[in-house]
Symmetry: C2
Subunit: 113 residues, 2 copies
Amino acid sequence: MQDSLRRFKADIFQALAHPTRIAILELLSSGELSAGALIDKLGMEQANVSQHLAVLRAKQLVSNRKAGNQVFYSVRDPIIIEVLNLMRTYFHAHLKESLSMLDAIEKPLETAR
Amino acid sequence: MQDSLRRFKADIFQALAHPTRIAILELLSSGELSAGALIDKLGMEQANVSQHLAVLRAKQLVSNRKAGNQVFYSVRDPIIIEVLNLMRTYFHAHLKESLSMLDAIEKPLETAR
DNA sequence: CGAATATATTCGAATAATATAATATTCATC
DNA sequence: GATGAATATTATATTATTCGAATATATTCG
């Protein structure tokens, strides 16, 4: 059971472990948005956003409501937003190290393919 | 910058997205432990635990202190524990759905019970 | 020194996550 | 019922994570 809980947590964290999905949740934190609105605001491929939405749906982090032609998404439980906010606090607390971490992550962008 | 913050968050979540690493952080939440103690308590391969510790170190979620022969690990910032606790709250709030999610994840090794 | 203990690293194979492209579905309107 | 708009799904190539096995590095002790 202890173990199940950990697998569950790991699973949610996995769903959160992508910048695009975090962006989606943050965009939704102030209220619901249609898939199209999300695509616009993110400025990304329709299919890609839709796949990320599918991940969030699969882990039940968002709910969706179909209205005619469109699908409106919203954050299922505000606790998730709290988690994101805590992470922001964490980021600020460790700003210096965080920045060097980001430097390491962000490759010196190479010639695009 | 918005984007950097999201990449940072995603990166931390990625580090949290494994049951073993969650277990490690939870074991450390009440104080520091040596790598050996963690290996014992987890009952896992030495190399495997060490690799997970390396991930946690890389993302600076734990600090380590070498004392003679041993290396003692501790959680770097209690905010991380708060995040795990929030996740536990979330789990309880959505117990029913969570269980069915876990069912889907766990192999159908059902025979007994 | 050499052996023993504690921990870390490297390598390779298996598996999972991602982005893009192409296609499918669903609904509204004509 | 055909067309167009909004959204979802599938297929695939690429890349990243994971585990176990083997090996390496410290450190202590005799």
